[in-house]
Amino acid sequence: MDYENAKKILEVKHLKQYFNVGKADEVRAVDDISFDIYKGETFGLVGESGSGKTTTGRAIIHLYEPTSGEILFDGKNVDNFTSKEERHEFHQDMQMIFQDPYASLNPRMKVKDIVAEGIDINHLAKDDADRTNQVETLLETVGLNKDHSSRYPHEFSGGQRQRIGIARALAVHPKFVIADEPISALDVSIQAQVVNLMKKLQREQDLTYLFIAHDLSMVKYISDRIGVMHYGRMLEIADADEIYAHPLHDYTKSLLSAVPVPDPEFERTRQEIHYDAKNENDGKERHLVEISPHHYVRAADDEIAMYKQRAHEASLIKD
């Protein structure tokens, strides 16, 4: 990751997303997280279910009204656009690919209408011929046939449906795509196809991805940087290779130690590391601290020295 020339496309500052605020069952789904995403990179967000990774993605695309905090996209606060035009532009620039290709496509619409919905809403086509042309180009970009455009979603396999979902997201020429578990519902051999497609499109169209997933090996493969979430908090952020080779936070270590590896020899000798989440709730004030260059860990003031020591042992810090 080249931090020198990197330009921030998204800044999340102290985002809090609570549900049922003030009631007995208040849920702090996202609890004060901050991170940046640079233009052209893939930022992977990992964590267990209930860690708040999906809520974070949905808050960024403004499906929720944040409880507090700021989300800046291209320097503008997505929470208070002054004009309709600004809001329209934002919704074009940021698109989403959903997890379940079976539930996210309207079964009663033809593929061409699903893909063209964004084109219609944003008046991106001059006439019918242009619309058809755009849809066909999009379908070919994602590896489908233009003859597919007059079919219905049920006529497609899971992998093909996910391609339709990707074509729909790309129809409005976004700059930033949030992919929420885009491959979790697909077979192993098809997962690789879809990931390759996403990487190809990123190169060709200069896209920035927020890739949300719980499959850690796939996230590492596709991401430039990775953030680890747990109980609504961001515990560690670092370059993908670094966080996997030298995790500093105990939770990250535990998460990585649980990943099954397709290697029987490795599995026979695998040591799992257990993590006790109680340590996090001892009442100490914690926030993300840059322990080594561009490697952030959520730490209390008296823990910084310990993490520095760990980073030192992993030779992430040079004297």
């Binding site: 051999s189 098809i190 690789a192 990931v195 990487k199 719980h214 990943v259 590896v261 020899e265 695998r270």
Partner: protein, 366 residues
């Protein structure tokens, strides 16, 4: 093949599903054995017939399924010839299943202590109090904390991982001879998955159940299985011990599966992927069903179905590439690396045996 150690023998199994479009040939001549105390993993894509195979063993196929040939021998009896009533006596008693989705496989209106105790009351005619007492023991065994108080809770009061423990408790309460686990951890997070898998291994040691483990996650297979069968388009295309399948795979489909899964060390711009999609089993292709997606396909693959070629006593693969006259091909780079690792492992093992004698091996078998 009539091995005393075999607890389940599946022979020439063929299952069709009648649909409005014609007969879907879901299982096309499947043979395998399950030995006592082992874990056999069946891997393959969705639609390859893994779940249909196990549902046929359980006698739980949908009403449009037709078993056109084959036999499933369990303790000298053919399960396919049993009546529904006889099967009911076997299910949950001799052969039990852990289902994929812990969210939907429990009864939401029944307290979980009762649900775990139910198989005892049904199969053994046990009185409720005694059954509940045993259920409590089982809850402790599968690691449900505060079991005494939680017995009277309903499924929705538990997390996904805890619910899967309950499903396991129900499946194991009668100490079944055969346990079928159909993607038991697919719906769970990795940390919870690790716990559940460890639990299954631990319990297998305790009650020496044989497990048929169905999954598409090769990482899980590597950790759980003794032997592996790879299925594609309704057939087993390769089977062998876990080391043979992971370090010395012979079928191009196994190569594709192994290399399309990124490990934590995978780098590069493009992930090797298997192109295309599985064939339509309404009208299975002649010859090798994988030929259309196989970059190593030979001409004969589209004409004649490959038989099983023997690689070792325990390892067989159905690919023409193993025929003595077949051209030599170089498998994908990742597979070559795996084979090299295997070669060194074998050498180390041999050297070790010469030093210490085969003592360690025997210990493992027990």
């Amino acid at each position: 093949m009539d091995n005393e150690k075999d607890i389940l023998e599946v022979r020439n199994l063929q299952v069709n599903f009648k649909t409005y479009a014609g007969d879907v040939k879901a299982i096309r001549n499947v043979n395998f054995d399950l030995r006592k105390g082992e874990t056999l993993a069946i891997v393959g894509e969705s639609g390859s017939g893994k779940s249909v195979t196990t549902r046929t063993i359980m006698g739980l196929n949908a009403s449009n399924a037709r078993i056109t040939s084959g036999s499933i021998m369990y303790k000298g009896q053919d399960l396919l010839k049993k009546s529904e009533k006889e099967m009911q006596a076997i299910r949950g008693q001799d052969i039990a299943e852990i289902f994929q989705d812990p969210m939907t496989s429990l009864d939401p209106t029944m307290r979980i202590g009762r649900q775990i105790a139910e198989p005892l009351m049904v199969h053994k005619g046990m009185k409720k109090e005694k059954a509940l007492k045993q259920a409590l023991e089982m809850m402790k065994l599968v690691g449900i904390t505060d079991a005494e108080n939680r017995m009277n809770d309903y499924p929705h009061q538990f997390s996904g991982g805890m619910r899967q423990r309950i499903v396991i408790a129900i499946a194991l309460i009668n100490y079944p001879e055969v346990l079928i686990a159909d993607e038991p951890t697919t719906a769970l997070d990795v940390t919870i998955q690790a716990q559940i898998l460890n639990l299954m291994k631990e319990l297998q040691d305790k009650i020496s159940t044989s497990i048929i483990f169905i999954t598409h996650d090769l990482g899980v297979v590597a950790g759980m299985a003794d032997r592996v069968a790879v299925m594609y388009a309704g057939k087993i295309v390769e089977y062998g011990t876990v080391d043979e399948i992971f370090y010395n795979p012979k079928h191009p489909y196994t190569w594709g599966l192994l290399s399309s899964m990124p490990t934590l060390d995978t780098k590069g711009d493009e992930l090797p992927s298997i192109p295309g999609t599985p064939p339509d089993l309404l009208d299975p292709p002649t010859g090798d069903a994988f030929a259309a997606r196989n970059q190593y396909a030979l001409k004969i693959d589209t004409e004649k179905e490959p038989p099983f070629f023997k690689v070792s006593d325990t390892h067989y693969a159905a690919t023409w590439l193993l025929h003595p006259d077949a051209p030599k091909v170089t498998p994908p780079a990742q597979i070559v690396a795996r084979q090299e690792k295997y070669a060194t492992m074998q050498k180390d093992l041999l050297a070790q045996q010469q030093q210490h004698g085969p003592v360690e091996e025997e210990e493992e078998k027990q």
